[in-house]
């Protein structure tokens, strides 16, 4: 895309963009400030808008769009480098009950609080995003499979140990369910499939009582006695002989 020549930039209608940035608390230097030509100023507006469109308005975390970009990059990296990487889907338990009991403003507080708790658990290289509603998503690059469960457990405990205090002094106990899946190393896969696998584990965590973390077990190549029994079921092969 060809950037507009600086001389024509004054003809751009930027009111709406500037209002959005202001509302989001992103402050820009005055246009025409010393040492800042028109193009540089315009770049700051664009940067601000990019930042805004990748962030979730309620929690300030990355939004789903930012998550998807980060995930696509990670899928590519894992396939190339063969490093292990973990995706965790985190969902607040019984969130509807919070909303119904305390109202939507408290619901928002709970979402913000969980978002902060999650953000406190991660390393700088990790990605955290609000995936939608009361669901968050995390990408943990270079996370060895052996550590996956304890990482997820630490996150779960962090949320459990941090109840939300209401203005009236009441404490709202909040827990999360977590589902996780590792990217298959070396293998070409897709971002959608990765999330789907983590989501399936999240469903399992919910179904087995909530406030727990379930991680997809590495594909099991063991064949159980039961499977073997069925595999070598004698009946059909004997049928062939008769």
């Amino acid at each position: 895309v060809q950037a507009p020549a600086p001389t024509t930039s004054h003809r751009l209608r930027l009111d709406a963009a500037l209002r959005l940035l202001q509302q989001a608390g992103i402050t820009l230097p005055q246009r025409g400030e010393a040492g800042l030509d028109d193009a540089a100023w315009l770049q700051l507006v664009v940067d601000g808008l990019c930042d805004l469109s990748s962030r979730d308005a309620l929690t300030g975390l990355g939004n789903r769009r930012a998550f998807e970009i980060a995930l696509a990059r990670e899928v590519d990296r894992v396939a190339r480098a063969g490093e292990p990487a973990l995706v965790l889907m985190v969902d607040i338990d019984h969130f509807k009950r919070v909303n119904d009991t305390w109202g939507h403003a408290v619901g928002d507080d709970v979402i913000r609080s969980v978002g902060r708790a999650l953000a406190d658990c991660i390393r700088p290289m990790d990605t955290i995003a609000r995936f939608g509603g009361e669901e968050f998503a995390l990408i943990l690059p270079n996370c060895p499979p052996a550590f996956g469960q304890s990482v997820a457990e630490r996150i779960r405990l962090k949320v459990e140990n941090r109840p939300v205090t209401l203005p009236a002094g009441d404490l709202v106990k909040v827990t999360v369910s977590i589902g996780g899946a590792f990217a298959p190393q070396w293998v070409r896969s897709s971002a959608a499939l990765w999330v789907e696998r983590a989501d399936r584990e999240l469903f399992r965590a919910k179904a087995s009582g909530r406030n727990r973390a379930c991680l997809e077990q590495p594909p099991i190549s063991d064949v159980s006695a039961e499977e073997k029994g069925m595999l070598f079921g004698t009946s059909t092969l004997q049928d062939l002989e008769s």
Binding site: V75, D76, A79, R80, A81, G82, P184, Q185, W186, V187, R188, S189, S190, A192, L193, E196, R197, R200, P219, I220, S221, D222, V223, S224, E226, E227, K228, M230, L231, F232, G233, T236, L237, D239, L240, E241
Partner: protein, 264 residues
Amino acid sequence: MSGADATNPKPARRATVMAVTSGKGGVGKTFVSANLAVALARRGERVLVLDADLGLANLDVVLNLFPKITLHDVFTGKHTLDEAIVAVPGGFSALLAGSGMVEYSRMTPELRERLTQVIDEVAPRFDRILLDTGAGISDVVLYTVSLADEVVIVATPEPTSLTDAYATIKVLAAQQNRRSLRVVINQVLRAGEGRVIRGQLQAVVDRFVTPLDPESPVKLELLGEIPSDPAVREAIKRRQLVSTVSPGAPSAQAFGMLAGKLCG
């Protein structure tokens, strides 16, 4: 594309890449790859067999071809791909791994890069590429299979072979989201045994392998059965392919039927 959900759509006029794998070693992966290549070539397909069993290559032994320039030289940059592709009697082409590939028995980013490059480079020039993988389900084998559009699993009626074939199916379904796999049952003693074994495998898969999407379960298709055939032993002894030297033999006929099924 029916295989692992690849990130890129298949460009026009690109070979169908088929991985031939088995779980257990010694069940006839290379034998199936080479004879299938002959049968496909006879139907007018341009076929390349790539020896992807880098650690323990034996396509050269089966074909009785020991070219000076191999895939190893391509990987190390000493020779070009064109120099390494050999024409095999029987009308197909082969890329042989060559010796000195032991260093590639473990997966590394370099190996990944090179394998992908080689396949991308030859794909526009052939109708079908058969990746003759190594045995087992090591990361190299799984990665090689992930490069393929379609997967053929070779097994014999032996219990150990069936167990390993089943384990491979399980891992491919879980890890690569493969929904459709083909099986070739080699060395069958009675006609119809392949069909029974496929049914047996399918029943265990239906019972124990949970697909991500319950609407699309894992389906096994019997590509064909290859009868146990004295002509095969004779050909192997003379280091020839049964499909080339005894086209009328039952096993060679069976490969013809396999090829017919693939060409539709």
